[in-house]
Symmetry: D2
Subunit: 336 residues, 4 copies
């Protein structure tokens, strides 16, 4: 932490601040600059709360230097965390693809899609049984029945399943059926849910919140890891911006920025970022080229009849072509 | 819903679309325009999902006309909803002020602050017992003990208390002690929590999410009302923008925009919007002048020692002056 | 400038960086911290470009400490700059109001409005003769004829006039007629125009760009001051955010943040921020309460027939009431 | 344009609005819906200004249907516009690459870089002679001398040159030397400059403004085309968002969204979007995979000594590898 003093701050003011810092148990080290004095805060374990010093007399600005995260940090653990589920590995340079419908709607639907995406080369099946929806009047998912259908699809295809846990109440149930548990963007800072996920033996996909800063996202992962679950896969799914031509704006650079700070794998969901089928395809290619640790993509056998997210779901044949091209692109970039 | 066709869309394409619309049980009404045909979707009760038609052949754009909310809508209920708690009324043109620390820290602290804010004219006491914090290593609140201290402060001052419920697990407990239950910005789309709040006999303050659109915020309130709780107070607390000179950007116009769409009262929290004491004061005056239904503001007896949000908490004497000026401003604007 | 090294950076890496810094003529001062070394860059006059060191070996982050602006800085000049035009003073704690139509449309229009706003207590008349419009097909202003009509209105009412200069080509002409020259939001970083304005004897209103950071805005003012013109009035007019219920989001806190950094006066334009009449009125009250150095507001005698910005222009009678209330609010807050 | 009336608007109110619409020369067509009446505005050539009707009695909302752009619109011209410069073609499905330094700094520098990027397969050379800089104290470019050095590099390598025109004053000079004239992001709505570019015989690269909506960007291109210059290449370069881990956020989906609306080619500049070398490389691959009409990328022979943008410039050897991989990726996606 660096406390920058106002130009011309008196010696007493500086002394008072040094005391305030040391009263909190830190070491203060004044650093005379060209135009003003700054005070470094040393010997802190973990991060210092800028709020403590922000409003004090003579203080111009408080600049954090040490990052607040520990377990998720690459400085804490240098090598990539690799998470293996079925035949897929997230974090080892491969490109596992998770595909399936937004929501499980019926046995026919999920079995048909599961078989298609398996044939096309997907490594895992996705499908929502509990759906967080903006409107209380929208389709909320099949619940337990949806989980059972996912299990059936897993049995038939061998694909592990990824499905969302919306709350602590239904977490046990989801945990029983899911191979990977997803925490949605709207729940990224539902700390009680994060703590529960931290106690799970299952890997967790933690979606980035609509407007989460990199640091907030990593701190959410820290909540999970702090409870003992090290298997966290981060998932970028587009952020909210002023833009109106797509549902969200996919922030690809966050992937490399996170990987610099953290050892955790980062996958991308181009479907929610775009919101429209053609854009999803182009974005999927872009993701494969960017060097992400996996891709999550929505596929539906009859998008025009889907109960949710139809416009952004690929047709099975489209998905097949997309898979082939993503694979070819990944082969080029992988030689990086 | 208005489906705008591409220029030069053939008669068959239009006919196919009309069929697709009517297959879903709506009435389709083609409207020939200057340059292209649009198709109105009529006789829908509630809103139609744009996704159903977005990707279809010949469709250029799908424009929603009817809004998806019902119970929160001013068209559903014309007159303002007024919510009475203790001597305060939210929604009747008065300006009740909720004041207190970010978190309850000790008996001394909360009693001292409660007495100060009461003397200054606050109508309710705020204070967190369960704190949602970005970092798992930050102070998380005193929990049940914090609630008991709030109850003690209520007994001593007569001020009703506002405190946050973070999850369904601890909701019963919070409900037992709180006069108004707050749902925080990060939980605005924690739908399970919203449903639980909808079953509570207590009024609920629903904070706007960091980057929530007006419509998403109202739909979150709809979740609460749909379960039977009509006492929802909306609270703007600043949104996330590209700006770096303040923690958030306070969006005052959302207050009038919401009040046009909805009958619910809207209050504002200038403390979280600004993040810095001087800005909080000026913003509090601005809120009073804008014509809001109440103000929530952080006050601490020793901000420099606060366990959270010290930099944005007012000193008790500052708060007293702020209260006087807000009252005077409100008197001018109220004559609107 | 503070260069933060990666944890475990070797002594050689640190030495290499120290050399790189000193090769550019600065003094490097290594500061050992709890977990890592940082290197302070001292004895720089003016700011250092972070880009120089960002990509170098072992560098984790580069944190600017000194601000890049000089002439606009409050550290350069402590007391407020006060700018007097006619009877109005910007920057001395008073609340001068600039009112008038978006564009000058006809003699009748501008004279009628000028008389109304004068009667209501406005200190200056605004009106565009050269209009920057998003579409080449929209009304572009009356040009020279518009300037002459403004001069006529000034003669009749005694009000000084504020009007926009869109480019260097027509700057001389605008300068001849205007008492204050406005530079629009879209031209905030039109550096050639800024330099020209810097050579003008007239005060300049510099509107904030749609998504300008505080620092970029101040640097734009620095361009003007660096050419010799010290009479710069900054004008906040709303920024672009994800929000859809208002044209822009008014960023009131930027006013106090700028005034902390700079000695220049800051006024606010609630009309462009809101885009809708009712919101303009409430925002105008909020501005008066916040403690701004002036307000610019659109008034039209027949808003429904206006050639531009009709929906956000106040009726003359509305403006009169708004003026009275703003004055009363300012009287309360002024006693700050 | 669709004017949505408030629920329960009286017949007289509707009639008054119909009159207001027809008084402006349009045809009004009331459309009774399930819950409210809407009024379509027909037989307008071009777009209608929503402002005209927004504030009127009984009006709930005004929804634009027709787009305001003409010449840039794909409905006006169905086939892609292809722009040929030297051996490169923008818009025909190929992937021309424009490479070079941010600014021309010396003869050695520009010749060395020009030869490198040519060898690596770049189709055009970029380099700034007039530089728009946030600070008046930063390096502003070599001016005319810079243009002469670019001409020398063109002569030696045969590569056409792309360079920026900052203002109308120096436009003639830039036009004399440049093969393509660039208009920078900060000047996207410098309408006088756009009009001047519209009179040029040279193709123009129009960068997207920092926070420009798709429609504003196309309208800026409309300004150029309306003056007679049809050779406009649009360039996405990242937009400003709340994000802090990269300079800007690259908005890839705008490319496909623009191409749906317009026949103009769209290229992407990953260098300014990222601001950091490693991110530039990954983003360049993503652009190639997304299916853009060209890529503009910064290369410097000695990035650590560059006078501007050093941290985001690739080393020549890096660029060579990047070119090879982009070519390979494009070959895969091109088979789309």
């Amino acid at each position: 932490m660096l406390v920058v003093m106002q130009k011309g701050a008196s010696e007493e003011t500086v002394k008072a601040l040094v005391n305030a810092i040391e009263n909190r148990g830190y070491t203060a080290r004044p650093i005379p600059g060209g135009e003003r004095i700054s005070i470094g805060i040393l010997h802190n374990t973990g991060s210092v709360d800028a709020n403590h010093f922000q409003g004090l007399d003579g203080v111009k600005e408080v600049i954090p230097v040490t990052k607040p995260y520990k377990l998720v940090s690459r400085e804490f653990k240098q090598e990539n965390t690799c998470i293996r589920v079925g035949d897929a590995v997230f974090g080892n340079g491969s490109l596992p693809v998770i595909a399936g419908p937004c929501a499980v709607e019926s046995e026919d639907q999920i079995l048909s899609i599961a078989n298609s995406v398996k044939d096309a080369g997907a490594a895992l099946l996705r499908g929502g049984a509990f759906k967080p929806r903006t409107s209380p009047y929208s389709f909320q998912g099949l619940g337990k029945n949806g989980l059972e259908l996912l299990a059936k699809a897993r049995k038939e295809t061998g694909l592990p399943v990824v499905t969302e846990a919306m709350d602590v109440e239904t977490f046990d149930l989801v945990e029983e059926y899911a191979d990977i548990i997803q925490i949605g963007a709207r729940n990224m800072q539902n700390f009680s849910l994060l703590r529960r996920a931290g106690k799970s033996p299952r890997p967790v996909i933690l979606k980035r919140g609509m407007s989460a800063l990199l640091q907030e996202w990593l701190m959410a992962a820290e909540y999970i890891m702090e409870e003992g679950n090290n298997q966290v896969i981060l998932c970028e799914r587009g952020v909210r911006t002023f833009v109106r031509h797509s549902r969200n704006t996919l922030d690809l650079t966050v992937v490399s920025a996170v990987k610099k700070e953290s050892h955790l794998p980062v996958i991308v969901d181009p479907s929610h970022a775009a919101g429209v089928r053609e854009q999803v395809i182009s974005l999927a290619f872009a993701c494969a080229a960017f060097g992400v640790d996996g891709i999550m993509i929505e596929v539906h056998n009859k998008p025009e009849e889907a109960l949710s997210d139809g416009a952004q779901s690929l047709y099975p044949e489209q998905f097949k072509t997309v898979m082939e091209k993503m694979k070819a692109i990944h082969a080029i970039v992988g030689k990086n």
